[in-house]
Symmetry: C2
Subunit: 430 residues, 2 copies
Amino acid sequence: MSDVVHIGMLGCGTVGQGVVRILQETAGTIERATGHRLEITKVLVRDLQADRPGVDPALLTADPEEILGDDSIDILIEVMGGVDPTHEWLVRALGHGTSVVTANKQLLARHGPELLAAAEEGGAELRFEASVCAAIPVIKVLRESLLAAEIESVTGIVNGTTNYILSEMRRTGMSYADALTQAQEIGYAEADPTDDVGGADAAAKMAILASIAFHTRVLIDDVPYSGIDDLMSDDVDIAHELGFVMKLLGVARLVDGAVSVRVHPALVPGNHPLAAVAGADNAVLLESSMVRQIMLSGPGAGGTETASAVVSDALSILGSRPGSFLAGALVDAGRPIAPEGSLESAFYLRLEVADQPGVLARVSSVLGDSGVSILTVLQRGEGEGARLVMILHRSPEAQVREATRRLAAMPEVRAEPVVITVVGSGEASS
Amino acid sequence: MSDVVHIGMLGCGTVGQGVVRILQETAGTIERATGHRLEITKVLVRDLQADRPGVDPALLTADPEEILGDDSIDILIEVMGGVDPTHEWLVRALGHGTSVVTANKQLLARHGPELLAAAEEGGAELRFEASVCAAIPVIKVLRESLLAAEIESVTGIVNGTTNYILSEMRRTGMSYADALTQAQEIGYAEADPTDDVGGADAAAKMAILASIAFHTRVLIDDVPYSGIDDLMSDDVDIAHELGFVMKLLGVARLVDGAVSVRVHPALVPGNHPLAAVAGADNAVLLESSMVRQIMLSGPGAGGTETASAVVSDALSILGSRPGSFLAGALVDAGRPIAPEGSLESAFYLRLEVADQPGVLARVSSVLGDSGVSILTVLQRGEGEGARLVMILHRSPEAQVREATRRLAAMPEVRAEPVVITVVGSGEASS
């Protein structure tokens, strides 16, 4: 690459403007460290007239051909979002040998393996640190530092909105609805929060992380997910009493050589490294017998943070030996996706029950018949509010789900049982 | 680099044998991902007869010339330790264009900038992830992901022995001496623990981290340090009562454009990210306005972990574009080293005092005269055990040291005052 590196940009919203600003402010540092000047030559935008402080209007174009057809562009930065036509455009650029940096999690969770293959064929680099956890360099660490560390599991708090809501429910005792409203007021949650609170956002990120950690094609459709939208603050409080903290976790792991990736609410023990991750922060715990547990944590969102990750990726491309690491190899280990229900775990079970003698005995007997044993029981409330809360010993998930169906059918059980995975507590989990 | 990459090794102790084992076990993964086979061609050892399970005796040599004079070696892995003759040997290899991976913290903390200059002149790479925090990829993250993030501070628990001792003192109430003995029994502390408990080990690591974070020549002699060997378990307990956790911290930061690096015991607020780092774990908190706070944590020692970092570094060399990032530029920003005492901070102050009326008033007045104000006071014990414990508002360190000298001269103060830095608590610190 020559001394001047030509950058094309697709999109110039908050993140794009951040990239422009960081490249200006750190030009001296970058040139001193790398010997290169990064020069933005063209920026694709939809509306040429919109206000973009600090961005030279002469760089703007509304015609994608001016960027996609320009052979002098060395690195294409994609911060426009969306799956179409972005997908097609990036495949075309990579195919021509133009390296690409993208922050587009939805695109990668759907077409990542295909984009990596296009990069390899075109002799280009594809980098996407900013697509997961903003400036926390999880992807670089997995892809480079831990390439040969035989990662066994990736457990992450990868959605800041839900971590904020759960932290506030615990800290103040407020309801899920109130915590969500508060998150919306301070800009931590969108007006339509479905993707965050329902788990879809975390599922896309976990698909990307699992792909890189296990060198396997994992797409968002391979990731079953559930969110926090039906959690009660009672569950958060009872969990705390039992020594646990409630988190929305992404859990990716190898199970008998297959890759299992899930997103769900989970209880983590109070002394677990992920328990201390508060507010809107993100954290990812990487485990292997070679390196034991390495955790990366920090803010998982933010325009400047995301832009910083985009700039890092551009610098990583400058520093990479062309073709030395095969992009396609990132996901070609050919591991299968594990079937649902194949996991073992400990579980938290909450049952609304009739306030009458003998209920606990009958519930215990149903669980026992299903081969599920009880570690801890709490009896709470009375009358209409009577409930049983249990921590169940580590058992196959399918077995616990079957036991729960039988409990739900009991006349003494007054509402759908709540079942929440418990992770990382010695005997009680993997 | 050709398909077969020739590796020479200096040293074959625990870490060296780990490198051999990891290269064997992960050869398939590495070849699939990088297209390269890493082949160890020669290993320098002192004693050819020692037991080294898994290492082919035909590779061993006791003659350094067989490695240093061998032009076919692409990457030299140094895991023999020591400053001399290692220093001279690595300068020679780098000068010939042979890239070097080293785990040698003492060497880097003394001669790092010179080795980086030698690498740049020779057109070689120098990597040293394993020299700090084993497999936690702090150096790669600082050097690559955060190259242009304008890091403002690096705060680390970079010595596992002392973190273990402090965690146990707090958890069990045992004395420093007992916690040290326990650490020695389970292999977390050496028979001669001076380097760990006195802070020198942490100082060497902080010199290396500060160099890379601030692109400046920082050597171990630039790092004032104190250790935990004269801490009382009382201080650990009182700190806890006041909502703090005692840690041995390395603190590197920019102060008016100069680089300040220190190692000392410190109190961190209970909700600070470093407070939750327990046992023998290490953690490093990286702060900048661009990325806010990013923390990396995990085991900071261990033969396999260290060997894993060495292998990562070799892979990073394979993936790097030769000469694209200028090794010397890592430390050539030319920032000065800040003078001692120039920092502002909040402080913990413990005074053994005479048990008589009016002492608190006289102590307060001495502090007030020195311009130091008090945030919190605890009075503890009586008679011979009477003491005052205070948290002092953020003040220049020199001012607090001066006030402490005046307090020490008071007849009512019965022993040398104990002063401990308080970090990261909102108003009370930076």
